[in-house]
Amino acid sequence: MRYSGFKVLKEALTGHKGWAPAWRDPEPQPHYDIVIIGGGGHGLATAYYLAKEFQQKRIAVLEKGWIGGGNVGRNTTIIRSNYLLDGNEPFYEFSLKLWEGLEQDFNYNAMVSQRGILNLIHTDAQRDAFVRRGNAMILNGADAELLTTAQIKERYPFLNTEDARFPIKGGLAQHRGGTVRHDAVAWGYARGADSRGVDIIQNCEVTGFRIENGKCLGVETSRGFIGAGKVGCAVAGSSGRLMAKAEMRLPIESHVLQAFVSEGLKPVLPGVITFGAGHFYVSQSDKGGLVFGGDIDGYNSYAQRGNLPVVEDVCEGGMAIFPAFGRARLLRMWGGIMDMSMDGSPIIDKTHIEGLYFNGGWCYGGFKATPASGYCFAHLLVRDTPHPTAAAYRFDRFEKGLMIDEKGMGNQPNLH
């Protein structure tokens, strides 16, 4: 069924009887060509591109709970490609380009909104680093603009520039960055994949891998064994737990990241803005909530909840740049599990087990990567070679000393 304004109109006039389920609820088949573990954004996107761009048939997505219930359903919805390093920037720019055509591509309004993202600059050294980054973005075909404080003030007149402990000396803007309605991304990919024959199987937990002679033959699940030609894992915060079932140790730690939303407010923020001298970034959703976050709590956790000191730290950062937000109310805080890698960059690679592929280590930046991650993972699953933009995301980069360390923090996941 194709969604359109006319369809909405027609249904409205005929009692909405014609809306079919957005995706089927199939029983698992005994065998698929490709099984994707994880019905989050990345897993669903992978299945979508497998079917649509790589013409694969007989694909299943296995989800232990309900699709879109992990980080794609609880993040701060930002998209951008303002990366510094050559290992990253082409990939994220590819992702941003996919975002730009996504809604028409999968016929679902995910509300891709290129409202712009702005990183504030507070010191000369920070400006030097941002100039280098902005140049790297432009040299990779992305957009970037260095803004003066006055230009920023025009867009954000209530930004605290007068009484700032760390003065604002400008900002690096990417106007093509912005926000997307996160749940709709999962649903749009799911619907698009389902309509192309992908079986999306919810409430189907993978309990083990069947591996014989170094080859993965399929997965054991809560709904029985499912054979597979190839198995792709895209389970984000659960990567460590899942891959342990294949006796793999990953260069990844699981950490909790909290995020926050305020009550609905009439529009105040035109785009996404990040504070460069504290841990705070914020945007405003179409519904009116201020969606904001900061740093990870910093300790290994699978608890999906954080603690008060980080809540305070984030709000302190918010009050430092936007003292006008003091009387807005925080409505809800939540925590997600981040698979923090050892250099802050992801992994999309084969494993040492034939037929078993891995996609993870997205740290807290996985949402914006969703389209390219799905596309590149599909590419790898089908062609067995990495997509050119994801060629650096290899397991062996740590052994070889080819880290992709945007922040320069080294093998310390909680600092990325």
């Binding site: 369809k7 016929n107 507070h122 030097d128 402990r165 009387r327 409505l331």
Partner: protein, 979 residues
């Protein structure tokens, strides 16, 4: 305006005083003890807001913090506070409030057109349209949606109020001061333990204030007052009204917000608006009560339709009649209480409509077995339509309808650590599950004990068991102990536009559509329809939605499950989480020992981490910073300059294994460093990347002083302690960070020795104290000090340190001694210029991704010893032939600049990422050379001296031809520093 709906007597308001207040420009009167909602209702105003999507007229649904409808913009000017619940806003004299989320007036909201279009605006409609043409989403559709969406408005002026934070500790925290909480507090308080009793309301007593029950001979409210009075007399009990416990965090830490000044016009001088308390407690009794739930009926969202318990609260506590004629729709006995109480106050009961065949009868008013099937009234309820069990329908005129669908225990805090509530069949509600936060017990209605006597019993019992008290539970006066009689009933058959989430306009129809389209899990339901995402976070809406989804899916409600309750319990001002950390107080300021002196000199300061350092020292006549910096550099290189370098990290390393320890933490060797000598040290991370650099001075066989960069003072010290405690625990070595203990100045320039000779008590001639010498010395005739002959500027230079308390005196002394040489203080800019001229790496080069090789120091990594990072530094990816190398860069056109952040490209060939050769890390104008210079990293750079390249910065529109040169622009042989 008169308070036409004010009941003549009774209630917990102070009729002897009157508050005047304004809502939407009209002035009304109320009394102390009122909320804004009760005062407006008293004045006959029930239209208080508009719903989110359809802009339907809305009045209060509740009388508490769960209110989804009666949200207003409270106060004006910079204190304007959007989305404020009228139902919890304490009335004060001069209160000013406006309705919100309307276009036009509240009565004639132009956006109520959406209500006419509601058939198009069903759940999730926006996902299916607005996609064509692609560019129109951001340009047209989204701006329209954004402007229609949102609730209240921020003033966008800086919040003028102050917020505080504090810590509290107790043996027992009791959340909620209703009968259960009061009983728990009395039990624990009398036992002498430290108790905190917190309640979100401004009046303690909970439901006792809203009911007409008696406890023994006293009214419930009077009994509560008596208990509160006793608790106030106990020194071990802290009573915290107006305090909402917002969240349960790990290990018995609770977040609570005390609203100190929200009930007054403006905070008293010196008082914060609110305080964020972190309450540390071993045990907690959760006595948060229960919330009544509505029943989904066609058009059940009109002003005048409320929870039956809210109508009762307005009547009993606030002495306000919701209307002159009130109907009740109930599925349980509690609904009848409202009717009885209202009748006793002389309010006409249109009828009690009960879905149960065995409903209690009344001689005072009609009880109808049946269902309410529709309501009428444009801006407020005028009548309801009732369908009798017999099948006939009746229209009943009434201005208020109380809905009672049963009560939901307030289990929220039990779930903040991922505990899941469990279904209780008798109550048809979720009650706390087994996995409570450690140390928590639940009492009263929150635990499913719905009677007053049960609440008292369970409150006392919870306190006793939490504290492990022995003996009998205290006796309480006789109280109502009625059982719960309820028939689960969630929605009227066939209803469609029957509101579940009144704020977000989620109706029964939307839940059905959600099911039809496959969004059947509870989380999908929530996200697709926005059910439960309103400011009440589903307190008034979730159960109805769950029940309908369960029925559609052929499941039970517990099978459908609940969404996850997350903090905060009620929406909480962002400002209170920020506390005083805003403006200049966002982070503490660290001042250098020469700060006050530098201020006297008119220095310009710059933030370096939390430090403030002098950036340059402008002099009269200098109009640009460059003039000052150029002068400082030339004066230093020409004669002598002085700079405060206290901010560099300092770590004292002592012990017989001190040298061996330094061998571990530095990649280069230290064991053989002579006493009295200093050496440059490069520290790697274990992954082989440069971590930090600095010097280590050997003051004695077993005593070194290590310096770090300013930014890394803390991380390096932490790392050194890790190496000491975790890796080499038996080394005889002790570390202490002495960054703040010593004031340290760099005295640099050809005349620096002459200046210091006037201060230092010892011989510091070139022979006695050569380059890289260090010593414990005295200055000014006996003050202990440390002297290091090290140079960041490349000049003959010293760093001299005295105990911090003497820092101010020393800078003045140095200036005095240097006067004859025109000694010039210099700031961080001149410091930076001189280090770039000299080719020294700093933070821009040690950026966390560079190796010793990149920095041109590859040979320093000793392979003859074990040091942190040496093994992993050998990985192939870090040792490629075309690795980046630090180089110097100068413009071919000497007038051009070479800005940092630019990239290096070959002179010919494309300019893109694939052809990127390197980048500029640090740049400045060199007053000594008379042109711009820079340091940077270039692929295989050390082999490319003299090569001409293109320096590009498309971001800043710069492109210029440069020459690759040695990074040592000044005195490459190091003659000056050895002079």
């Amino acid at each position: 305006m008169t308070q036409k709906n004010r009941i003549a007597t009774g209630g917990q308001i102070d009729r002897s005083r009157t508050h005047s207040f304004t809502f939407d420009g009209v002035t009304y009167r109320g009394h102390p003890g009122d909320t804004l909602a009760s005062a407006l209702l008293a004045n006959g105003v029930r239209l208080m807001g508009r719903s989110f999507k359809y802009h339907r007229p809305r009045g209060p649904l509740t009388a508490g913090s769960e209110e989804p409808n009666a949200l207003v913009e409270l106060r004006d000017g910079a204190r304007q506070e959007p989305n404020t619940r009228a139902t919890t806003t304490e009335l004060f004299d001069g209160l000013f409030a406006k309705s919100q989320n309307r276009l036009g007036s509240l009565k004639f909201d132009l956006l109520s057109i959406n209500d006419r279009l509601s058939n198009f605006l069903t759940a999730g409609f926006y996902y299916k349209t607005f996609m064509w043409p692609a560019a129109f989403w951001e340009k047209l559709y989204e701006p329209l949606i954004r402007h229609a969406a949102g609730l209240g408005s921020l003033s966008l002026k800086d919040d003028p109020d102050v917020y505080d934070k504090g810590f509290l500790h107790c043996d027992l925290l009791i959340v909620g001061a209703g009968p259960a909480g009061l009983a728990a507090a009395l039990t624990a308080g009398r036992a002498g333990v430290d108790v905190i009793l917190a309640d979100e309301d401004f009046r303690m007593g909970g439901r006792l204030n809203s009911e007409t029950f008696s406890l023994g001979d006293a009214s419930g409210a009077d009994w509560a007052n008596g208990v509160v009075a006793e608790l106030e007399s106990l020194p071990n009990v802290r009573l915290m009204a107006r305090t909402t416990v917002i969240g349960v965090f790990d290990h018995g830490i609770y977040g609570a917000v005390e609203r100190v000044s929200d009930h007054v016009h403006t905070p008293d001088a010196g008082k914060p608006r609110q305080i964020l308390w972190r309450i540390y407690t071993k045990r907690t009794v959760l006595a948060a009560g229960a919330t009544e739930r509505p029943i989904a009926v066609e058009n059940n969202d009109r002003p005048g339709i409320m929870l039956a318990s809210a109508i009762r609260t307005y009547a009993n506590r606030f002495s306000v009649a919701a209307d002159k004629r009130v109907a009740i729709f109930t599925n349980n006995d509690d609904g009848h209480r409202t009717a009885a109480d209202l009748h006793a106050k002389g309010i006409k009961i249109a009828a009690v409509i009960d879905v149960r065949p065995d409903a209690p009868k009344s001689t005072n008013y009609e009880v109808i077995e049946g269902q309410v099937i529709d309501t009428k009234g444009r801006l407020g309820l005028t009548s309801i339509e009732v369908k009798l069990t017999s099948g006939s329908t009746r229209r009943l005129d009434c201005g208020a309808l109380g809905m009672s669908g049963g009560w939901n225990p307030n289990v929220h805090l039990t779930c903040h650590q991922r505990g899941r509530p469990v279904w209780n069949e008798a109550l048809a509600a979720f009650v706390p599950g087994d996995h409570l936060p450690a140390g928590m017990t639940v009492a009263g209605a929150a635990s499913g004990e719905m009677s007053t006597a049960g609440a008292l019993r369970s409150g006392a019992h919870s306190a006793m068991s939490a504290l492990d008290l022995k003996g009998d539970i205290p006796s309480f006066p006789k109280a109502e102990d009625a059982p719960v009689n309820l028939k689960p009933f969630w929605y009227v058959e066939g209803c469609s536009r029957a509101w579940l989430d009144q704020q977000n306009d989620v109706t029964v129809k939307d839940v059905k559509l959600s099911h039809q389209e496959g969004f059947r899990s509870v989380e999908h339901l929530k996200r697709y329809t926005t059910l439960g995402m309103a400011t009440d976070q589903g307190k008034t809406s979730n159960m109805g939605g769950l029940a309908i989804m369960a029925e559609l899916a052929g499941k039970t409600i517990p099978e459908v499950g609940t969404t996850i309750f997350r903090p905060p319990y009620t929406p909480t001002a962002i400002g209170v989480f920020g506390g005083r950390h805003r403006g200049q107080d966002f982070h503490p300021k660290r001042l250098t020992p020469s700060h006050h002196w530098a201020k006297e000199q008119g220095a310009v300061f710059v933030e370096v981490g939390n430090w403030l350092r002098a950036q340059w020292f402008p002099r009269a006549g200098e109009t640009t910073w460059r003039q000052s910096v150029d002068r400082e550099v030339l004066a230093t290189r020409g004669s002598v300059g002085v700079c405060d370098v206290t901010t560099l990290g300092k770590v004292d390393v002592q012990g017989t294994d001190a040298a061996e320890f330094l061998n571990k933490i530095y990649c280069n060797a230290f064991a053989k460093l002579e006493v009295g000598k200093t050496r440059y040290g490069l520290m790697l991370r274990e992954d082989g990347i440069a971590k930090d650099d600095g010097t280590a001075a050997r003051l004695a066989e077993d005593h070194f002083v290590v310096t770090t960069t300013t930014a890394n003072a803390l991380p390096v010290y932490r790392h050194m302690e890790f190496v000491r405690q975790c890796l080499f625990p038996d080394m005889d070595v002790q570390l202490i960070s002495t960054t703040e203990a010593w004031a340290q100045y760099s005295v640099a320039g050809p005349n620096s020795r002459r200046v210091l000779e006037k201060i230092v008590d010892q011989d510091i001639s070139n022979e006695a104290f050569p380059f890289m010498a260090c010593a414990n010395i005295t200055v000014c005739g006996g003050l202990r000090a440390r002297l290091f002959r090290i140079s960041f500027s490349g000049e003959l230079a010293y760093e001299i340190a005295v105990p911090t308390a003497y820092g101010d005196a020393l800078i003045r002394k140095i200036m005095e001694a240097g006067a004859e040489y025109d000694i010039t203080p210099y700031g961080t800019e001149a410091l930076g210029v001189m280090r770039i001229e000299k080719g020294h790496a700093a933070g821009n080069e040690l950026n966390g991704t560079t190796t010793a090789q990149n920095l041109g120091m590859g040979r320093m990594v000793s392979k003859k010893k074990d040091s942190i990072g040496s093994i992993l530094s050998e990985r192939e990816g870090l040792n490629r032939d075309d690795d980046l190398r630090q180089v110097g860069i100068k413009p071919v056109d000497l007038k051009a600049s070479v800005p940092a952040g630019s990239h290096l490209m070959s002179l010919t060939g494309p300019v893109d990422a694939a052809h990127d050769q390197g980048y500029v890390t640090s740049a400045c104008y060199s007053p000594c050379l008379g042109h711009a210079i820079a340091l940077g990293f270039l692929k295989n750079g050390s082999e490319r001296m003299g090569e001409r390249m293109r320096l590009v910065s498309p971001l800043t529109k710069v492109e210029t031809e440069v020459e690759i040169v040695s990074p040592h622009f000044i005195d490459p042989e190091g003659e000056r520093l050895r002079a």
